[in-house]
């Protein structure tokens, strides 16, 4: 916990005499301050000569502490926020939309799991095209495997004859990320940018969908081995994504791959382990039957829908 002297730069009331007073009661760090009996401290402060300044210092400390945690929200406020800010975005595919009763919900992190070449990147690109076109929203595509293809996205227009035009394509931005630290920095920078955009009210094409394809290739190099640092970073990324989604009303779509369940050699399970399982709000599993190239999407976990439902989806044919 931070020693009190670091707070002096931004809050000049916490000067040397205040700190001396606190130290005389055994309070050196913020943690000590939180654990101490504050009423008793105020009573002691009364007896000092500079009691007003000391009491002001205590109030400033308390307000600093309160600023760190988010304000309480009651159910009505949450419902209002849901109805006003958090819309449902269509995924671009009718089957998936009917399976998810509308599509992705802003404010939630959806994970797409599937074995190799099952269509995850295609699904992501289709969702990006759909959000840019139908919902007039900005899309940010974070690509870890050089699989973003602008040509393919242009084919995902709603009418199969024309490809997407310049206005729609310019709403989709793509950025390549190759390691977990760059990812954390990028998300942090995005948070700051979005927060300052809210204040200047740039409402045209606000960011509505963030796609990370794929998050598992960033996390697999650090997971496992000695030390739990890899898992800590994975959870940190997960929390950052959820925070971004909720605060800025963005729908986030991440992709994950599957690994074989060791031992029996039978079913495959999603990678990244048990800790990651609880981080996304919704998990969808894609599987492709190579013999007749049918794609099936099924719900593994969802906040408002029963798991286990499946739907067949069609892959969009390329326009020649």
């Amino acid at each position: 916990m931070a020693p009190l002297k670091h707070l002096e730069k931004e809050n000049p009331i916490i000067d040397a005499s205040f700190r001396y007073f606190c130290a005389s009661h055994g309070i050196v760090t913020v943690e000590d301050f939180l654990l101490h009996d504050l009423e008793g401290l105020a009573a002691f402060a009364d007896r000092q000569t500079n009691s007003d300044r000391l009491k002001e210092g205590i109030t400033v400390m308390l307000s600093l502490v309160e600023r760190q945690c988010h304000p309480w929200l009651n159910g009505m406020e949450l419902l209002e926020d849901l109805q006003r800010n958090k819309h449902i975005l269509s995924t671009g595919d009718k089957g998936t939309d009917s399976l998810l009763k509308g599509g992705f919900r802003e404010g939630q992190v959806t994970e797409l799991v599937g074995p190799s070449s099952s269509g995850k990147t295609q699904f992501c690109m289709q969702a990006a095209a759909s959000v840019a076109e139908k919902h007039d929203g900005g899309v940010l595509y974070l690509d870890t495997g050089n699989s973003f293809s602008a040509r393919r996205i242009a084919h995902f227009g709603s009418s199969s004859d024309t490809s997407l035009g310049q206005k729609v394509m310019s709403r989709i931005s793509c950025h390549a990320v190759y390691d977990i630290y760059t990812m954390l920095e990028t998300l942090q920078g995005l948070d700051i940018t979005l927060r300052s955009q809210v204040q200047t009210n740039v409402n045209e094409h606000r960011l509505r969908l963030l796609v990370v394809d794929s998050i598992s290739s960033l996390i697999t190099p650090i997971l496992g081995g000695n030390g739990s640092q890899g898992r800590a970073l994975m959870v940190a990324v997960g929390y950052m994504l959820k925070k971004l989604a909720h605060e800025h009303s963005i729908a986030i779509l991440v992709t994950n791959h599957t690994v074989g369940a060791g031992g029996e050699g039978g079913k495959t399970k999603p990678a990244l382990g048990e800790t990651w399982k609880s981080i996304p709000h919704a998990r969808l599993m894609l599987s492709r039957d190579h013999k007749n190239s049918n794609c099936t999407i099924s719900i593994l976990k969802h906040t408002s829908m029963p798991s286990g439902q499946t739907m067949r989806i069609t892959t969009h044919k390329a326009n020649r």
Binding site: G138, R151, R152, S170, S173, H175, Y178, S214, I222
Partner: protein, 346 residues
């Protein structure tokens, strides 16, 4: 801004956080000697931390240029870039057709197949074809060939290079007849000079080489293709700990992706096959496991169909699944001369 996202070792990070320095602003406002004293670390370590903190707080400041994050590109601009991206021909027009013109730059392509199907031949052909000058429709670049199995044969490369030069001279002769064209300057030994060959004998050498490639390619900017033949060899027998193998391989895959994007070159990884028990039967699948299969942009599988060699696009973000046949001749890779020359679409 949190201190936990700085790339530090976990023990130093733990000491930093327990001393109370959880945000980057608190780190940047303190001197290195104070930091060393409070967090119980050496002065040099404190100096490193300050440098990292200043770097990251500089880069995550507000970006006023309109794009959401630094370096993000617009899809419309990328569309035009993609259409003008050069491709490396494989000298077999059927194969080029299903690949959309050839092996694309900025992508990591994995090519795998049973032994004897022609993986090394494709590797040698690509390292010659990348050097075709721009006037003939090629890239005019150099090649890096990383050999882990010792299967690169210089005589074969010379043979293919001679065939390539002969084809180009024939084309120049045709151009001379109908138009004015320059004399071909290239000789087969020039082609061999432009292939940088690395022989790797263990997995640590392989990892070290991949780390070194960034610096090597910055000094030799003409390199347009990196071929690894094969990526599997040292990872199949030396590793006892499979979890560590997955980690090392995914790290290597990310490095290749970064190289491909940064220098706009093509990375071709040749892989071996193994048998996998799926859906009640044993099937051939590429080696190195499920996690590795996600680490490439495109995947091409080579297989035998009767007496013919076929190539099948297994994974691609923008190409449809298709297969085409090819043959390996003394002049290199060529179209197969069978009667049914139509490309089979899946």
């Amino acid at each position: 801004m949190e201190a936990w996202r700085l790339p530090l070792s976990s023990s130093i990070r733990g000491k930093l956080i327990s001393a109370g320095y959880t945000s980057l602003s608190s780190i940047s406002s303190v001197s290195s000697s104070d930091l060393a004293r409070d967090a119980n670390i050496t002065e040099d370590e404190a100096f490193e931390i300050l440098k990292l903190a200043n770097q990251s707080s500089g880069s995550s400041s507000y970006n006023g240029s309109g794009s959401l994050i630094n370096g993000a590109k617009n899809a419309w601009d990328m569309l035009h870039e993609e259409e003008s991206l050069p491709r490396i021909t494989t000298s077999c027009s059927d194969l080029d057709n299903i690949l959309g013109g050839g092996i694309s730059c900025r992508d990591v392509t994995e090519i795998g197949g049973v032994p004897g199907i022609g993986k090394t031949q494709i590797g040698i052909q690509l390292s010659v074809n990348v050097q075709i000058p721009r006037e003939f429709g090629g890239l005019g670049g150099k090649a890096i060939y990383i050999d882990t199995e010792g299967s690169f044969m210089v005589e074969r490369a010379l043979q293919i290079a001679e065939a390539c030069v002969e084809d180009m001279e024939e084309y120049t002769g045709y151009m001379h007849k109908h138009f004015k064209a320059n004399q071909l300057q290239m000789k087969p030994k020039d082609i061999l000079e432009n292939i940088f060959y690395f022989r790797v004998c263990s997995y640590t050498e392989q990892i070290a080489l991949v780390n070194h490639l960034d610096k090597f390619i910055s000094e030799n900017k003409d390199v347009k293709v990196v071929i690894v033949d094969s990526i599997t060899f040292h990872f199949r027998q030396d590793f006892d700990d499979l979890v560590q193998r997955t980690r090392v391989l995914s790290e290597m895959a990310l490095k290749f992706m970064k190289l491909a994007k940064k220098f706009s070159l093509a990375v071709v990884l040749l892989n071996q096959v193994t048998t996998k028990y799926t859906e009640g039967s044993f099937q051939l699948a590429l080696a190195l496991g499920d996690s590795w299969s996600h680490s490439c942009t495109n995947r091409v599988i080579l297989y035998w169909n009767g007496d013919e060699r076929y190539a099948y696009i297994d994974k691609s973000p923008s190409l449809p699944s298709a297969s085409a046949s090819y043959t390996v001749t003394s002049r290199g890779l060529r179209n197969s001369s069978s009667s049914s020359k139509r490309v089979k679409m899946m």
